[in-house]
């Protein structure tokens, strides 16, 4: 247990050191963004806007990336255009080509019907960046293993090997059991996707990818599908006709168990979404105190607090990746466990 804690703490220390400076810059960039727009601010709207998805990637008023919009509707078919078309030169939202942008949702301007929005939004861009970074890192790590088999790891390989071994030995194997190896690739992808997504989300100007309910929902559904498709006879017997329970209670237990099937992925989805989004909201709220009090001293104090909250966020990034993988392993492990006895 001790070795295990020291391994975790060492891991987080490295991550913390990596990102302390990044935290600092994130505050500063937000500050400049705020000071430039002197208008009356609705701070809660501002904060929520920052944790939501968007069709533009806004760094400062002078640096905004207009992301491509991809929409499909039965009336208009597929349309691809730049989101710049939705803004005039004063950065006001305007209609374009019969499409209306309202609170990041796109509607048909004349009928008001929502279209299927497949745009490369800020979060989709973040998703692609995360995927590319992961592919680059882990394919290079995988090649390093292929290049010198049986040798001691070095470079990037030796940085990630302890984490991979940690996921395998502390998360996946103890919870899934002897058949863990089949699920290890999924669990490793899940862990590193959440971890890297969380960490990238803390970068200045980054999108809130892993704090988006659509993203966490998809991950939870994948775990849900694996759990129920890989679930064995014992698992279903346990749900449908729980052994060791008095007969009159069995229908009630059945109801509870069936609800349980669905509450597990929902808890996975909500936990990650809430932990990451709440972290971002806390950071932004503390930061916004400066503008509420309009005082440089409050800004100074809140910057210090935000710095420490940022460190906590780094920890949360790791913990949430760990917890999501842990619970996914646990659910799958429960579904494929082979019971030797009738009841427990």
């Amino acid at each position: 247990m001790k070795a295990f804690l020291s391994r975790i703490s060492r891991f987080f220390m490295v991550l913390a050191l990596l990102c302390v400076f990044i935290g600092g810059t994130s505050i500063r960039s937000l500050a400049s963004e705020q000071e430039e727009s002197k208008e009356e601010l609705n701070l809660s709207e501002f904060i929520i806007h920052h944790v939501l998805d968007d069709h533009v990637w806004h760094f400062t008023n002078h640096l905004t990336i207009y992301l491509p919009v991809i929409v499909y509707s039965s009336e208009r078919g597929l349309d691809i255009f730049s989101s710049r078309n939705f803004y005039d030169e004063y950065h006001n939202v305007i209609n374009y080509d019969g499409y209306k942008l309202d609170h990041s949702h796109i509607y048909l301007a004349d009928s008001g019907k929502a279209v299927l929005d497949l745009s490369i939004t800020k979060n989709v861009a973040m998703l692609l960046i995360t995927a590319v970074i992961m592919a680059l890192i882990f394919i290079s790590v995988g090649n390093a293993y292929k290049r010198n088999p049986g040798k001691a790891p070095k470079g990037l390989q030796s940085f990630f090997e302890p984490v991979i071994v940690f996921v395998r030995d502390e998360v996946v194997r103890p919870n899934i059991g002897p058949h863990y190896e089949k699920f290890l690739p999924y669990m490793l992808t899940l862990f590193f996707f959440i971890l890297i997504g969380n960490l990238l989300g803390l970068l200045p100007g980054a999108g809130n990818l892993t704090g988006n309910i659509a993203v966490t929902g998809v991950l939870a559904v994948l775990t849900f599908l694996i759990t129920n498709f890989k679930g064995n006879k014992d698992y279903w017997a346990h749900i449908l006709w729980t052994p060791g329970v008095p007969l009159p209670l069995r229908p009630i237990i059945l109801l509870v168990e069936v609800i349980g099937i669905f509450t597990r992925p929902i808890s996975l989805m909500v936990r990650l979404f809430v932990a990451i989004t709440a972290g971002h909201i806390v950071l932004l709220s503390l930061f916004c105190l400066t503008f509420i009090f309009s005082s440089i001293w409050v800004g100074f104090a809140s910057s210090i607090i935000v710095l420490f909250i940022n460190l906590i966020e780094l920890m949360v990034a790791g913990i949430q990746a760990y917890v999501f993988t842990l619970f996914s392993s646990l659910y799958i492990g429960m579904a494929i466990a082979e019971h030797e006895h009738d009841h427990h």
Partner: protein, 164 residues
């Protein structure tokens, strides 16, 4: 509320990208990584096991050697002891033998001496008797030439007889 309503577009993108990423990494990253880690761990376990076996072998060899050495030492002690015993026995035997023969020689000598002594004594007795007879003869011849001397002699004998 917008926070809690998932966008279908993002769901689709997330699903596609994540599944593709999983397939890509499973093939190009996780498979070589997992198998290499396993192979390395296996080789470490094997190496440790071999070392342990070698150590046991060494211990066994050492104990075997010690056993052999002990046996050899015992053998040597036994041989020495036996040799010493044999030597002692031989010595004792020789001593008794020597003593016996010496005793016999002495005994024989003594017997021979006795025989010689008896023979010599016998000789001496014969000689003395002879001398006595000769002396007596001579004395007789000289002394008993007259009657007076004969008479004196007879009287002396009688005196002697009386005192005896």
């Amino acid at each position: 509320m917008q926070l809690l309503t998932p966008d279908p577009g993002l769901i689709l993108w997330q699903l596609i990208v994540f599944v593709l990423l999983f397939l890509l990494l499973a093939k190009l990253a996780w498979r070589p990584i997992i198998s290499s880690l396993k192979a390395r761990e296996q080789s470490i376990t094997d190496a440790l096991e071999t070392a342990e076996r070698a150590r046991l072998e060494m211990t066994k060899l050492k104990s075997d050697n010690e056993k052999l050495l002990k046996e050899a030492r015992e053998e040597r002690d036994k041989m020495l002891r036996e040799a010493r015993e044999a030597a002692n026995r031989l010595k004792d035997e020789a001593q008794t033998e020597a003593k016996k023969s010496a005793d016999k020689i002495i005994e024989d000598a003594r017997a021979a001496i006795n025989i010689e002594k008896q023979a010599a004594l016998k000789e001496v007795r014969v000689q003395v008797a002879m001398f006595s007879l000769q002396v007596a003869e001579k004395l007789m011849k000289t002394k008993l030439a007259d009657d007076k001397a004969q008479k004196e002699l007879v009287e002396n004998y009688i005196k002697d007889l009386k005192t005896n």
